[in-house]
Amino acid sequence: MKLKLTIIVFSFLLTSAACSPVDAKILHEERSLYSQLIVKQIGNTVCLQFNVRSDQRNQSCIDPRRPKEMVFSYTRMSMASLLYVQQPQSILVIGLGGGTLPTAFHQLYPDAHIDTVEIDTAVVKVAEDFFGFRPAENLKVHTTDARVWTKRALMRDRRYDLIVLDAFNGEYIPEHLMTQEYLTETRQLLRPNGVLVANTFAQSDLYHSESATYASVFGSFINFRVPESANRVILVPGEMLTKDELLARADAMKGRLRPYSVPIKRYAQLIARQMDDKPDWRVNTRVLTDQFAPANLLQEQ
């Protein structure tokens, strides 16, 4: 009995030692108003993690030796939106994270006006301190609730060529940012032919609810997936492009996107194949609205 217990305890210790990343070093840890922020050095990369349980979708990573390189597939996939918008003048990014996307947009389009909305001041500070994020005259960060900001932006008649929705990286989903009303307000911020890209949930009941909600606002969209990742990215193009047009645009920008390790040519081919796909979610799923928004409960189901 005692021996058995010893074996169990020993093997537990052994497995936990083997599973913990030995070369992970915590650079910074803080409990902000909205989440737990952990900045870790893992091998050569520095990662921002939003809670103790780590998976891809709650992380933002950077390799300081190659700071442009996008470590995670959903970030790279979001860059596929650039196929549908040439020379954007104005870009809106909801959710800062490590600032990877806004920084890349700023480098690619130095003349574009970029607004970033992030609710957590601690995230902004971490992005600046550890991820090389540098706000500038035309790269602004607004630390406020995205829903409130969006409503104000509408009142000020702001419009964008490209909108990136990437607000969900913590444990808790802000439910008022996943409703039909919010998406409708966001759509109103788009210029004609503007493009929206959203990093969304690929698992659980929420996949169905979220897809149905996007479909209710935007009609059809491209359910962009890549074989090497479980993520899906919702792409709402302003104009549909043919396969040849997509490939031609990919060819034209693949050189500029190479430092970010975005395989834009392959993305263009995948999108050309996926753009006419039938919905793979339950189309009769109840749409999320301000009145009905149990996103966090649905995620658990």
Partner: protein
């Protein structure tokens, strides 16, 4: 009669906390769901309840009876229902005038929730008045009453956050709460006219 009063107090507690939880959802589209939004809601509810206790206690001094008790529930129902109709335009109005979401949410919670919560706050002291028969028993009665109404609050919180929001729209839940208050009002008023509370007057 005592059982009826406990039932009504339980329902009052249930409705108050259910409404408070929904308050966060009502305000979120205009003011976000940040900690200050909850701060606004809780502040307004606590302020209103404290005023309600004061007013309810004062009102129970003269001629306490089930008719008046029931009319508190009727008033609560009638003043809660406008939330369904006017929350949206009210918040829109505030949103365009108050830039800071902290004061915006405080003002919105005050306008939307203060009056119905004051009315519902009157229930507890009035219930104590109806239940107390002797000075010696007053503490025990008050204790039991708090037990029942706070239990109602706990269950109102639980059911709303765990189950109601998963199946119903916010407005549907508010209508159900209004109907619950209305039925309590009807029960109390009916009992009054059947003479059940007669010895209290």
């Amino acid at each position: 009669m005592n059982l009826i009063i406990y039932l009504l107090a339980f329902t009052g507690g249930f409705v108050i906390m259910s409404m408070e939880l929904l308050g966060g959802r009502v305000l979120a589209p205009y003011f976000g769901s940040s900690i200050y939004v909850w701060g606004s809601i809780i502040t307004v509810f606590m302020m209103s309840l404290s005023l309600g206790y004061l007013i309810g206690g004062r009102w129970s001094v003269k001629q306490p009876n089930l008719l008046r008790y029931g009319s508190i529930f009727l008033g609560g129902a009638l003043l809660m229902y406008p939330l369904v109709l006017f929350a949206e335009p009210t918040m829109q109005w505030i949103f365009t005038r108050v830039e800071d979401p902290r004061y915006g949410s405080l003002l919105a919670s005050t306008i939307l929730f203060m009056v119905p919560t004051i009315i519902l706050g009157m229930i507890s002291p009035y219930s104590v008045r109806l239940l107390v028969k002797s000075v010696e028993g007053s503490g025990q009665v008050a204790g039991r009453l708090y037990f029942v109404s706070t239990l109602g609050s706990a269950l109102g919180t639980l059911f709303t956050s765990f189950y109601f929001v998963l199946h119903f729209e916010i407005n549907s839940i508010l209508i159900m709460l209004t109907l619950a208050l209305l039925s309590m009002a009807i029960i109390a008023i009916t009992c009054h006219y059947r003479g059940m509370g007669a010895e209290k007057t």
